[in-house]
Symmetry: C2
Subunit: 301 residues, 2 copies
């Protein structure tokens, strides 16, 4: 595959295995797109589909997803722990290989426009596709959730980027946008004192004065007798793993605490790991083209 | 590709572009095998082809290589800096993904037997395929080179594993075998004193009491005003990059010298870099399946 874009649509169904499988099947049959995984959470009543392909095949796959999801998900009857505003709640497009953020922004606009036209759903462009600074933030858009949207949309500020001025009766609204790959990265500390993890989380996260592309919070790991700095790396190219790790190490040492280990939750692009190896081994002029697997992926074209 | 084996045949022609391209083309047309690169060295008068595929397609590709190389390379007229004993000099098979060393040993035996039968060339099995401890070492087999082989083969000790008791008139003999991936890894030191690089090389290499899977020597980098520990990592899973790097760092510090940088020459399996990232970031329960590109390669199947 020369061009690889990833899309991880979140749908508001995480309990009914048959319905989830029917929706997944509709995506799977789209030529050129590959469904890598479907991960469902019953408590959240939400599923995350991981798709890869080029722009054209992902466009078809996401439209097929809406087509299959809308008759099967009715938000007026939906409950779950995770906040949600749409039957298809959010559709991010992520450049992985041979694709730029700009191409993903263009793709998100095309898909958003077509979703509004074909299904009559209001579409909000978010993250790198956002039409205003405030709409970059998915949490800001989602505030009020499905139940609050009829009211929220009466304000001119929440006129959607595409589609009607009121939410779809059963499918609500959807956020579509381009964003960099996100890495869920946790660092475990050898202490039971969660205030240490909290303090370090505040030190490294953007809102607290830390790294531009870090969100973080302290978490207790009662069964391990440890605490964790739970981190979302929202742009690993500009804020790399190793820089955050070393900062956490230094902050932890100041409290007399050691790093016990770290973990990557879910998937990571290979490049995030190459960057750590390159840093610590001080590799000069490293290029991903020196990796055999890169050559293999290119040979698949 | 579910199963990926790599083969990097070395042929004794590095100057005549047309001949090299004719030989490469014969390999390229074999279904299922992929020729990733051809690297020629005029001074060595030698080319290295990098092929990937499953066992069956590589067997066909290597036989096609012999078919094309034998009429085009005459060792009685060959000269070059690199020692050589065959028109096709050496054919290693390397497990990369979904294949074991044992499968590569079996493949090397099949290919060796067929090369002997079809082309009348004596075949020596080497490295993990070797029939004796001495034949593991390619340098031991190659001693005497093409010109000395008629004499060398008179000794019972150098009876080939397959094929006739005397070298092929123009194509000599060939070594075929399975081996782990090899990484050419150099570490540059901030000193002009090559004796420091020499001493460190002796400390880390197997013959000097160092790591089991390390070959190393000191080299002067006159244009950079530095010296280099030039390393061959012959089994990065058992002797990983980061362990060697840290050992070199410690030895260099004892001489008051810092590591300026390192470099990977040619290709490396992704896993060698994952292992370094995993070590320094202390990642718990890491699996290559957590890397998006691994999923992509699997999705290609």
């Amino acid at each position: 595959m020369r061009t690889v874009i990833e899309s991880v649509p979140n749908i508001s169904e995480g309990r009914d295995r048959d319905r989830i499988e029917e929706i997944a099947r509709a995506v799977r049959v789209v030529r050129g797109a590959r469904l890598l995984s479907v991960s469902s959470d019953a408590a959240h009543n939400r599923s995350v589909l991981t798709l890869v392909g080029d722009a054209a095949s992902l466009e078809s796959a996401v439209l097929a997803l809406f087509d299959a999801a809308l008759p099967r998900i009715d938000l007026t009857k939906h409950s779950g722990e995770h906040p949600r505003m749409g039957a298809v709640d959010v559709v991010p497009f992520i450049p992985i290989r041979g694709a730029t953020v700009e191409e993903c922004v263009a793709l998100s606009r095309r898909v958003g426009e077509e979703v509004a036209r074909r299904f009559g759903i209001p579409v909000y462009l978010y993250e790198d596709s956002a039409s205003s600074e405030r709409r970059r933030n998915l949490a800001e858009i989602r505030k009020g959730e499905f139940e609050g949207f009829a009211e929220k949309m009466k304000s001119a500020e929440w006129k959607p980027d595409f589609g009607p001025g009121q939410p779809h009766a059963t499918a609500g609204v959807v956020a579509v946008g381009a964003r960099p790959p996100l890495i869920a990265y946790n660092i475990n500390l050898g202490t039971r004192d969660v205030s240490v993890a909290d303090r370090i989380a505040r030190a490294i996260r953007h809102v607290g004065g830390g790294f531009r592309y870090v969100k973080a919070m302290g978490v207790e790991l009662a069964d391990r007798g440890q605490v964790q700095v739970s981190i979302n790396m929202t742009n690993f190219k500009k804020t790399p793993l190793h820089r955050v790790f070393e900062c956490v190490r230094s902050e932890a040492e100041r409290h007399g605490v050691a790093i016990v280990g770290s973990e990557i939750v879910g998937l990571t692009p290979a490049e995030a790991l190459y960057m750590a190896a390159e840093h610590y081994l001080r590799i000069e002029n490293f290029s991903p083209d020196q990796v055999l697997e890169t050559k293999l992926l290119e040979a698949e074209d």
